[in-house]
């Protein structure tokens, strides 16, 4: 196996069984082939019901494939004996920050995974402090989570994962319940973790603006990955995206509309700054 590959998914099929144990007629995941390299910052985009959360839950063996295989850090997720080893390699952050914080004291929650792993006290202390600092929440270590904002709670949840020192973090719509400020905080923390610590980040989201900031974007629809590439590649084909009902980031959409109206705009533009520069250039060109 290529040592650069951290996650390898082979022809993954999955169906949720109903109460009587029957398989439904429609599979949730219909053959996903996919791999993630170490150190990547990947966004998985998709609508509700596209199977993106189901895919995420396969990565740390909360769900196991009906067919096909998922291999993370060289461990097959169907291997029940190695499930804790696997979960130390790959951390998972969920949508609702309230429902994943276990303790009434911030630092104890961050240490929860370490307590479960049986890490000795001195090491636990230093790893907890380090994790809190890496998400910028160190001064809140003795607070109660109920005193914190949504963005802060989500950063605590991320710190709880960082403390495990995983090679990869999977975040299942971590910003869906946050206000714009909270979303920004979480994105900044993720980018820093990816850049400074080399942690592989897999961000499940339906916000285009977040996907643009990632190094790679995969788009899911009806249980399949339909697009996979850099943000430039993905957003340079807006028709495909719009057909899935996902839409474009605001700046990209504005540039696209201008282009359709016949202006000579560089496409795709991904950031607001880039879009503003392009518009300035066009205005200047028109004036002369």
């Amino acid at each position: 196996m290529d040592s650069d590959i951290i996650i390898k998914i082979n022809d993954l099929h999955f169906s949720y069984t109903d109460e009587s144990g029957q398989l439904p007629t429609e599979e949730t995941l219909k053959g996903v082939d996919f791999s993630v390299k170490r150190g990547e910052f990947l966004a998985v985009l998709g609508h509700n019901g596209s199977g993106k959360s189901t895919l995420a839950r396969h990565l740390n063996a909360i769900l196991t494939p009906t067919e096909g295989s998922v291999e993370v850090c060289g461990v097959d997720t169907s291997d029940e004996d190695r499930i804790f080893e696997l979960r130390q390699h790959i951390g998972m952050v969920f949508q609702n920050p309230d429902n994943q914080i276990v303790s009434s004291v911030v630092e104890e929650d961050v240490a929860f995974a370490l307590e479960n792993m049986g890490v000795p006290y001195d090491e636990m202390r230093s790893r907890t402090d380090e994790a809190l600092k890496s998400v910028g929440m160190y001064e809140y270590r003795l607070h109660s989570p109920s005193q914190l904002s949504g963005g802060q709670k989500q950063r605590i949840a991320i710190a709880g994962i960082i403390a495990m020192r995983p090679e990869c973090i999977v975040l299942d719509e971590p910003t869906a319940m946050l206000d714009p400020q909270g979303r920004k905080e979480v994105m900044q923390v993720l980018k820093r973790l990816n850049r400074d610590y080399g942690i592989t980040v897999i961000l499940i989201t339906h916000y285009m603006d977040e996907a643009v900031q990632c190094g790679r974007v995969a788009v899911m629809e009806k249980g399949r990955i339909i697009l996979d590439g850099t943000p430039e590649q993905i957003f340079s084909e807006p028709e495909k995206l719009i057909k899935t009902g996902l839409g474009l980031p605001q700046a990209t959409e504005l540039a696209w509309e201008l282009k359709k109206a016949g202006y000579d705009v560089k496409f795709p533009v991904l950031s607001e700054e880039e879009c503003a520069d392009e518009i300035e250039r066009i205005i200047n060109a028109l004036q002369h």
Binding site: V102, V105, E107, S146
Partner: protein
């Protein structure tokens, strides 16, 4: 409105009593409780009072707070006192009317019970006032952990208690939201007869229960993702350290017990 509820009524501070090991505090409270019922002379009551007062002074918590903790139990205290007054026998009869009889022994007994129970309330309030619920949970787990060898679920109990404590503010917030949502739909929750109000509660409790189950499910998944697999092989971030303070407090308490036994 619901936000004002305080649970456990912990008053943070750094007093001598606050800084005692919670395990020692629980044990000391138990010794204190037993000792109170050993002594049955007036001097032992006075000594009990002095001990309690000393502990209260060392906790730096205002006596007003203890008065507040006794107030809701006043009816119970009065009933106990009245029962003891009429039903205990002994000594000379002070007052008699038809079947009611008050004896000197009865008066003694009733004062005794009253003072004992008040001291008991003050003593146990002192424990919850100076120990955070989470430390209490922790201490209970550790004190019960020898029993886990016989299959007693001490870790599971403590985990349940600490998760309950963690989710109390969350659920209070949620209840507030549901109340507002139901009011917006025209529910009348604080008017009407008792029956209508009780029925109104159902419209709050059902959504609250459903969302709690969903929360429990998500929390379980999140805990599993963080390698939770029961109490086996767990280490702790919260370290309990026994200091000289704990020895002083225990010595003082045992001295108190000794004196009470001696005085009788």
């Amino acid at each position: 409105m619901l936000r004002d509820i305080t649970i456990g009524q912990y008053f943070p501070s750094d007093s001598f009593v606050h800084r005692l090991d919670p395990r020692f505090k629980i044990i000391i409270t138990l010794i204190f409780t037993v000792t109170l019922f050993i002594g049955d002379s007036f001097s032992s009551l006075v000594i009990g009072g002095v001990y309690t007062l000393t502990a209260v002074l060392f906790s730096k918590i205002k006596i007003r707070m203890f008065v507040k903790s006794i107030k809701p139990l006043m009816p119970f205290l009065l009933i106990t006192a009245v029962f003891n007054l009429f039903l205990s026998d002994g000594g000379e009869t002070v007052f008699e009317w038809k079947f009611l009889k008050i004896t000197e022994g009865g008066i003694d007994m009733s004062i005794f019970m009253l003072v004992r129970i008040i001291l008991l309330i003050v003593g146990s309030s002192l424990l919850t006032y100076t120990t955070s619920p989470i430390s209490l949970t922790d201490a209970v787990e550790r004190l019960l952990s020898p029993l886990s060898r016989f299959g007693f679920p001490s870790h599971e109990l403590a985990m349940m208690m600490s998760i309950a404590l963690r989710f109390i503010p969350t659920l209070i917030e949620e209840t507030d939201k549901i109340i507002s949502a139901q009011k917006a739909r025209g529910a009348e929750l604080d008017t009407g007869s008792l029956m209508t109000r009780v029925k109104g509660m159902v419209s709050i409790l059902i959504p609250l229960f459903i969302s709690s189950f969903r929360r429990a499910d998500e929390l379980a998944t999140a805990m599993e993702s963080r390698c939770y697999h029961g109490g086996e092989g767990r280490t702790r971030l919260r370290q309990l350290k026994v200091t000289y303070r704990d020895y002083i407090a225990v010595t003082f308490t045992l001295l108190f017990t000794g004196i009470i036994i001696a005085v009788g």
